[in-house]
Amino acid sequence: MTAPAPATAADDPVASEALLDVRDLRTYFKVMDGVVRAVDGVSFSVAPGETLGIVGESGCGKSVTALSIMRLHDTPPTWTPTDANAERIPEDVRTLLGDAPPSRVMFEGRDLLALSEDEMRQVRGNDIAMIFQEPMTSLNPVFTVGEQITEAVMLHTKASKKDALDKAVDSLRAVGINNPERRVKQYPHEMSGGMRQRVMIAMALSCDPKLLIADEPTTALDVTIQAQILELIREIQDRTGAALMLITHDLGVVAETVHDVVVMYAGRVVETGTVDDVLLTPKHPYTEGLLTSIPSRGMRGQRLNVIKGTVPNPFNMPTGCNFAPRCPYVFGPCTDHDPRIEDADPADVACWQYTPAPGSAIPPRAHLRRSSEVSA
C-alpha cells in the first residue's frame, strides 16, 4: 500500500496498458452537516483511444469522479485519501474511510494525485482536457472566444500571441465553425448553444490532449444539435486518436457513442462491461431498473417500470448494499453486507446475486438470472 506508484502500475498488467487507471477513488466532502461520501471506492480504466461511458442519475457521483481526476476540488472541504495527506485528513472523514486503501489516479504511469499543483497544471489541458455541460456558464462572458482559446494555448505551449490566435482559428475550423476568423473576435453571447459547445470542444482540443473528459456535453442541447456534437466528437476521436471519457445520464447517447460502460449508483460502481452487455443484458438490479424505466419503442401501451424510492441520503447511507432499500430482488445478505464488485464472479457487478457467499463457491442467483438473459 505504501509502494511507490510506478511499481504498482508495473505489477498490474491492466494498469500498465491503460492510459488512465483509476483505483479505489474516494472523494468525501466534509460539510457542516457531516461527511458526504460522494465517490466511494471507484475503479475503472481507459485504454488509449478507447471510449468509456459513465452513467448514472443526478447525484450518483459521476461528475465528482471527473473533477477528482482533474483535481479541480478544493481541499478542504474535499478529501481524497492519498499516501501524502493521511495526517491532514480530519478525524470524522478518517473514521469513515476506515482502512480503505489510498486512492490512485494513474495517467501514463504517473499518479495524478501525487503531483504538485504546478505539475498538475501541465496535465490539465495538455494531457487531459475537459468539456463541461453548460456551454453558457463555462465560457467567460467578458472575453472573446479567441482570447479564451489563446489563453489555454499560450499557457501550455510557448507560442506567441499571433501563433496562438492562428491556432485558435484552426481549432475553431476543425470543430466545424464557419468563418472562424470572424468568430474568434466574438463574445459567447453572440453564439448559439451548439456553437458555444463547439467552442468548448475547440478549446479542449487546442492542445491535443490524449484524454478528453466530456461531462454531459450534449444535455443542454436540442436533439438535432446533439447529433451534430456527437458526430463531431466521434470524428475528432478518429482523427486524433484521443481517448474519451463520456459522462452522461442519457442511455441513448451511451448506446451510440461508447465501447465500455461504468454504471454508478450512490458513489459506487455497480456494474461495468461492454455497452452491448450492459444495455442488453444488465446484471445489476439498478441497471435493469434504469433501462426499463426509459420509454422505448417496445414499451408503448404498457406501464413503465419504476425504481421505487429515491437515491439514499448521502449523509446516511443504508447498511449493506446501497441499493437494497430500492431493490426488488433483495434477499439474505443484501441488507447487512456490502457487496464488493471485486468479489463478484466475474468481477463486473456489485450485487450479491453474483457474489459467492462466504464459504460457498457459487453465487446464489447467477444460474437463475442467466436463463432469462438467453432470450436475446
Binding site: 457531516g34 436533439v223 447529433a227 417496445g298 414499451m299 406501464r303 417500470n305 446516511n316 430482488y329 433483495v330
Partner: protein, 459 residues
C-alpha cells in the same frame, strides 16, 4: 406568400375520425411577441412564435407536440389556455370560443383548462403550504354550488387530490421544499386536477426529472387520464417520451406545424424532411438499433426573421436532392399543410419525393417493436407472476420519499419492508415490475420529515 398556407378549419369538425368528438379545435392561430427598440421604443417587428397553426384534439386523447427549443410549442400551449394573448386566429373548447371570453365568463371557463409546468421547483410558491398552493385555484373558482369557499370543504378536496396523485393526505401543511422533485411535480399535477378540468396542457412535465422518476410521472399521467377522463396536450422535446405517451403527434418547426399524424404512423413513416431528421437524431438506448442519422446543418433560424417560403428550406436535406427549379419553389411558396391520407398532414411541397429507403434507415424501421432482452425478461416475469403471486405480495411502493434528516440519529426506515415480501432468504421475491405503486389512492408510508433535506448532495 402566394398561397393561403393553411387549410381552413373545416375538417376539424367534419373529419372527426371514427366518430371521435373534437374537444379542442384550433384554426390559423398566430401568437406574435412584438420587438421594441430604438430611441423611441418603437415596434420594430414581431417574433412569430406561433404562426398560423391549425389542428384539433379529440376528447380523451393525448396529443403530443414536439419540436426543438424556441419552436413555439410552449407559447402555443399558453395561448390556448389564455395565459398569453393571441394575435390572430381562433380556438374552441368543446365548441365554445376560447378567445372571445371576457370577465366572469372567462374566469368560469378557466376551470376547464389547466396546465402542468415543466419546472417543479419554480412553479410552486416556496412560501405557501401545499394546502394553499392547491387551494388557491379553488378559492378563485369558489361558488355556491361547489362550496369551495368553505375552508373545510377545500381542505378535504386538497387532501383528496393529493391522494389521487399518490401523496399522503396529511401533507397539506407542508411546504414545497420538503418534497423531492418527483413529489413536487405530483403537487403541480394535483393543483391542475383539483379544478376538475377537461383539458390539461402538460408543458414538458418530465424533462426536469431523472429517468426513474420520469417513469413514475408518466405512469401517473396515464392513470389519471383514465380516471378523470382527461385530454392532454403533451408538450415535450423528448421524442421517446412522446412516442410512449401520445396518441397523435404534431411536429413544430419555427412556429408552424410541419407534420401531424397518429403516433405509430409518424414514428415509422415520417414524411416531412424535418421530422425524418429529428427522428434519426434521437439516440436509441438499444445498441442493436442502428439508425442512419441525417445531421442537419446549422442552427434554427431566428423566428423574428423566418426564411421565406418553406421555413425549413435553409436546412433541408431533401431540397439538396431536387433540381434547381423544384428547389426554387421551396424558397418562394409556403407549403400547404395538407392531408396525405388517413389524417397524416404534412407541410412540404415534395412529400412524394421523399426517398423511402432513407426514411426506413432514419427511423430504423426494421427494428420496430423491438423489445430489448431486459424488457422481455421483465415481461416474462410479469406474466409468470400474474398467475402465481397474490396482489398482496406486491411490494408497497415508496413514492420518491424525501430522505430523512441528515442528522437523524437512526438510519431511515424504508417503508417497503423487504422481509415481508419473500419468506425464504435465498428465494428473492417475485418481481412484477410492470405494475406499480401509483394506483391512486394507494399511498405509501413515508419517513416523517422534520426539516428540509437536500434531494441531492449539497455541492
Amino acid at each position: 406568400m402566394t398561397a393561403e398556407p393553411m387549410e381552413p378549419s373545416a375538417p376539424a369538425t367534419s373529419a372527426g375520425r371514427d366518430g371521435a368528438e373534437v374537444l379542442l379545435s384550433v384554426s390559423n392561430l398566430k401568437t406574435y411577441y412584438p420587438i421594441f427598440g430604438g430611441m423611441l421604443r418603437r415596434k420594430l417587428g414581431d417574433v412569430k412564435a406561433v404562426d398560423d397553426v391549425s389542428f384539433e384534439v379529440y376528447r380523451g386523447e393525448v396529443f403530443g407536440l414536439v419540436g426543438e427549443s424556441g419552436c413555439g410549442k410552449s407559447t402555443l400551449g399558453k395561448t390556448l389556455i389564455r395565459l398569453q394573448p393571441e394575435t390572430a386566429g381562433s380556438a374552441a373548447l368543446a365548441g365554445e370560443d376560447i378567445f372571445s371570453k371576457r370577465g366572469a365568463d372567462l374566469k368560469r371557463f378557466r376551470r376547464r383548462m389547466q396546465i402542468i409546468f415543466q419546472d417543479p421547483v419554480g412553479s410552486l410558491n416556496p412560501r405557501m403550504p401545499i394546502s394553499d398552493i392547491i387551494g388557491e385555484g379553488l378559492v378563485a373558482q369558489a361558488s355556491k354550488d361547489n362550496g369551495w369557499g368553505d375552508r373545510k370543504v377545500r381542505d378535504k378536496r386538497v387532501a383528496d387530490y393529493l391522494e389521487a396523485v399518490g401523496l399522503r393526505r396529511d401533507y397539506t401543511r407542508r411546504y414545497p421544499h420538503e418534497f423531492s422533485g418527483g413529489q413536487r411535480q405530483r403537487i403541480g399535477i394535483a393543483r391542475a386536477l383539483a379544478l376538475d378540468p377537461e383539458f390539461i396542457v402538460c408543458d414538458e412535465p418530465v424533462s426536469a426529472l431523472d429517468v426513474s422518476i420520469q417513469s413514475q410521472i408518466l405512469n401517473l399521467l396515464l392513470d389519471l387520464r383514465r380516471e378523470f377522463n382527461l385530454t392532454y396536450l403533451f408538450i415535450a422535446h423528448n421524442l421517446s417520451v412522446v412516442q410512449y405517451i401520445a396518441d397523435r403527434v404534431g411536429v413544430m418547426y419555427l412556429g408552424s406545424l410541419v407534420e401531424l399524424a397518429d403516433v405509430d404512423e409518424l414514428y415509422s413513416r415520417p414524411r416531412h424532411p424535418y421530422t425524418i431528421a429529428l427522428l434519426s437524431a434521437v439516440p436509441d438506448a438499444d445498441p442493436r438499433v442502428r439508425k442512419k442519422r441525417i445531421v442537419l446543418q446549422g442552427d434554427v433560424p431566428s423566428p423574428a426573421a423566418p426564411p421565406s417560403g418553406c421555413r425549413f428550406h435553409t436546412r433541408c436535406w431533401l431540397r439538396e436532392r431536387l433540381d434547381a427549379d423544384s428547389a426554387e419553389r421551396c424558397t418562394t411558396e409556403i407549403p400547404v399543410f395538407r392531408d396525405t391520407g388517413a389524417g397524416h398532414r404534412v407541410a412540404c411541397h415534395w412529400v412524394e419525393e421523399v426517398p423511402e429507403d432513407i426514411v426506413a434507415q432514419a427511423v430504423a424501421r426494421d427494428a420496430e417493436d423491438l423489445l430489448r432482452p431486459v424488457e422481455k425478461a421483465l415481461h416474462d416475469r410479469e406474466a409468470a407472476a400474474s398467475g402465481a403471486a397474490p396482489p398482496a405480495a406486491r411490494p408497497a411502493m415508496d413514492i420518491g420519499a424525501v430522505p430523512a434528516s441528515p442528522l437523524a440519529p437512526t438510519p431511515p426506515e424504508h417503508p417497503q419492508d423487504v422481509g415481508q415480501v419473500g419468506g425464504d432468504p435465498l428465494v428473492p421475491p417475485t418481481r412484477t415490475g410492470l405494475e406499480h405503486m401509483e394506483t391512486p389512492g394507494e399511498t405509501a408510508d413515508m419517513p416523517t420529515v422534520e426539516q428540509p433535506a437536500p434531494e441531492r448532495p449539497p455541492f
